[in-house]
Amino acid sequence: MTLNQLSPGQRASLEELPQGLIRSQAVRLGLMPGTEITCVQKLPKGPVIIRKNYQQIAVGAALADQITVKEIDEGVPKRGKRPSRWA
């Protein structure tokens, strides 16, 4: 699935990011394959707002469509799922 298909509250880890300049910019901002994020909200047909630890990032719809993600199963409580004391 793609980043665009996540619903608010859903957690996922990033898989593939598009090639090129935007990829380097994403990495610098903290997004790379394997990064775990939470979808905070989705603007209608607009950007997806995601949270990585305590940082919020807006990802344009066209870009979010090109980023594939793997959903993290919410059923199994995971360590570090929510940033606890030590994030």
Binding site: I22, Q25, V27, G30, L43, I49, Y54, Q56, A58, G60
Partner: protein, 602 residues
Amino acid sequence: MGKDQVDGLKRLVLVGNPNVGKSVVFNYLTGSYVDVSNFPGTTVDVSQGKYKNYIVLDTPGIYGVSSFNDEEKVARDVILDADLLLNVVDGVHLERDLFLTLQLADMGIPMVVAINMMDEVKRQGIEIDFKALEKYLGVPIVPICATEQKDLEKLVAALPQATVGKKGKEVDNLLKEYASLNNLTEAQILLALEGDLSFEGIPEKREELYFDRRKRVDDLCKKVVRYQKTGTHFSEHLGDLLLKPALGIPVLFLVLFLAYKLIGVFAAGTVVDFLEGIMTTYYEPWIRNTLGAVIPLDSIIGQLLLGEFGILTMTVTYIFGLLLPLVIAFYLLLSILEDSGYLPRVAALLDRSFNKVGLNGRAVIPMVLGFGCVTMASISTRILGSDRERLIAIILLSLTIPCSAQMGVITAMLSSLGFGYFLAYVVIMIAIFVIAGTLLNKILPGQPTDLLIDIPPMRLPLAKNVLQKTWNKSVHFITEAGPLFAIGALLITVLQMTGALDVIQTAAAPLVVNWMKLPKEASTAFMMGIIRRDFGAAGFFNMTLTKEQTLVAMTTLTLFVPCIASIVVIIKERGFKQGLAVFLSCMLAAFLVGGTMAQILI
């Protein structure tokens, strides 16, 4: 710029992400004036100062050393020439900022790291293990609070202890591998490996190195930063709510309305009337009398300096009577919006709509600025992601956005006709904005770039910071734009003295009278509109026009070329050819739309 080791001076280069307070540190060190934040376009030029035996250089705010845009290229070149680096980091955003820090450490240049915003760090209950961070990075770390001038003396004391930071394992291995190949510094080899410089025999491994560095940053943050479970803070909720269209859009309209009240009504009306009155009744006669005794008023120089559009008369009145109050009001509002963390939320909200006209959400800044002054908005298009976007933004700005000087007069004239006419004007402008943007998006090759921005937490702006920023930016704008207005005034005086102004007005008369169905004096008003957009609008004040004619005139005037200063800026930003093309197509569009309206309405 070459190394300049005269007198044993060392080059100390300040590096940091945008808006981390770098410039406050620079001011503290050099004591000279510099812009406080990395607001678009204002720190592209590298500021330089002296502190003890250091030449201090301030670089534009960057997220990493590379060559993605002009700011980064400038910063990269300055960093490569540095003897030591002072990296200023936002303590609240370590995950974001440490990417640059680790990259600088990998470059092998001695450095000191200042962790700034310690007041905010404490306020948000973030704990940073400075000892562990210092050990990991291998360079001196100094926590500071620049805005309160706190612990800056400790930072200064740490400068002589600057050391080369610890490199990542992978980086270290690669650097060793290529060290023998070329006669290059580690920094040069690293940037070549990252694809930002090119030297024979060094392959590009940007992705590998970036991924490795990002992992190190994330691991490091896990070890040294402890966030307090903040729970449900009001500001956090507010921040999330403002991203929801149901609340975000009404709030946006409210903010725009307040902006209009502050800038369009209070500053452009009350304050400007008062100041302009002072300038024209006291200053202008005074300067004419004083200098007129030395320079004859009817001589060429007398006309250039003291004439109707003279450099010492109109330009000075314009800059201090009209522009300065508007610019101050505008930057005041903008600084509040910027410091509160509101603007990136608007960018996200409007991203979708901006995509349709070939831009992305970041274009909200130049567009909002345009309502203040199209000239400064055109300068700020430098923040946009691609050349294509900069061109589209500049065209839309000069075509459809009325600046505050003009808006005051236009609103006054149209609202006296009734709300319907005012609404018609607004709808026409929005329609033209959408049509022109959509067309440009279709015609120009390429795509709008993707939005990918950090959404900072909402916070209450500190009055002191806001005022400082407003002042610095206003002074900066006046020094940058002032000479441009002088050039404009000079051009118009020359046109007037050579009789070219009359020729143009007579030549334009048939177009204005037959096609646009306006009185022939209207052509004078349009010409005046080039000098000062509000002069143009004011020119129509004294004419007897029907309601329809007023609407046609105001629409044409808005679309019609921006003022002379913005033309100069556009030519400076886009080059002569494109600048001229923008100028001509705006004129064409203005007369086309105005004439069509006249043919239908009148």
